[in-house]
């Protein structure tokens, strides 16, 4: 869904911030596109994970006082969640793209439907209620397998 809000509804919407990991793989790039779409839809505001990693005091304070912090990670490395937690910020939702069924690499391509799937999952609150997924292997996913190899 790429259409923008056409009305001023949603006045009671929670004050949310979205932190995409924006990693180099397709799964990381999907988080970035989804965060932008979610911002356009009025779900929340996208935060630069690189700025957060520097420990920018103003940004950290803003995130600590937010009603919700939604972290979008590409893979099981959960870099964005670790960066947030490293600065004392507890994510309200943490969605991991590989848990949503996306395979990390080798292709960097993704579609609008992929982005829509992530946006819908955020609106549904999937990162809030997800249970830890059954481990597929011992790999953290950093090799690009998505966590499926041994």
């Amino acid at each position: 869904m790429t259409e923008k809000p056409t009305c001023s509804c949603g006045q009671n919407e929670k004050k949310r911030f979205i932190i995409p990991c924006a990693g180099q793989a397709n799964t990381g790039q999907i988080t970035n596109s989804a965060a932008i779409q979610l911002t356009e839809e009025g779900f929340g505001k996208t935060i630069c994970v690189a700025l957060l990693a520097t420990g920018n005091e103003g940004l950290v304070e803003k995130l600590k006082t937010a009603e919700e912090v939604v972290v979008l990670d590409g893979c099981k490395m959960k870099c964005a969640a670790k960066i947030a937690e490293g600065h004392g910020i507890t994510p309200t939702q943490n969605l991991v793209m590989t848990d949503l069924g996306f395979v990390k690499g080798p292709s960097r391509s993704y579609t609008d439907d992929d982005v829509e799937k992530v946006a819908a999952a955020c609106w549904m609150g999937r990162g809030r209620e997800s249970e830890p997924e059954e481990e597929k292997g011992n790999c953290s996913g950093s090799c690009g397998c998505g966590g499926s190899c041994d």
Binding site: P5, T6, C7, C9, G10, Q11, E41, F43, M124, E129
Partner: protein, 78 residues
């Protein structure tokens, strides 16, 4: 039968709320009467000042925001 009304003029947030409601009903595997109300006069008639809104059995349970699936499921099982 539970009656659910999703009120909104048809923008993105209204569509998201409707989709979340459909998903909640599906996950609960219950039979409900689910209707979408988009006309402003009908929305105002129900006392809703901010959209999107969710009405369950004639009671406004969420107004001016998109309730997520977990919340809607909780509201439906109360």
């Amino acid at each position: 039968m539970t009656k659910i009304e999703v009120l909104g003029t048809g923008c993105t947030k209204c569509k998201r709320l409707f989709a979340n409601t459909e998903q909640a009903v599906k996950e609960l595997n219950i039979t409900v009467e689910l209707v979408k109300i988009e006309k402003l006069d009908l929305i105002a008639e129900r006392g809703v000042m901010m959209t999107p809104a969710l009405i369950i059995n004639n009671e406004i349970v969420a107004e001016g925001r998109v309730a997520d699936v977990k919340e809607i499921k909780a509201l439906l099982t109360e």
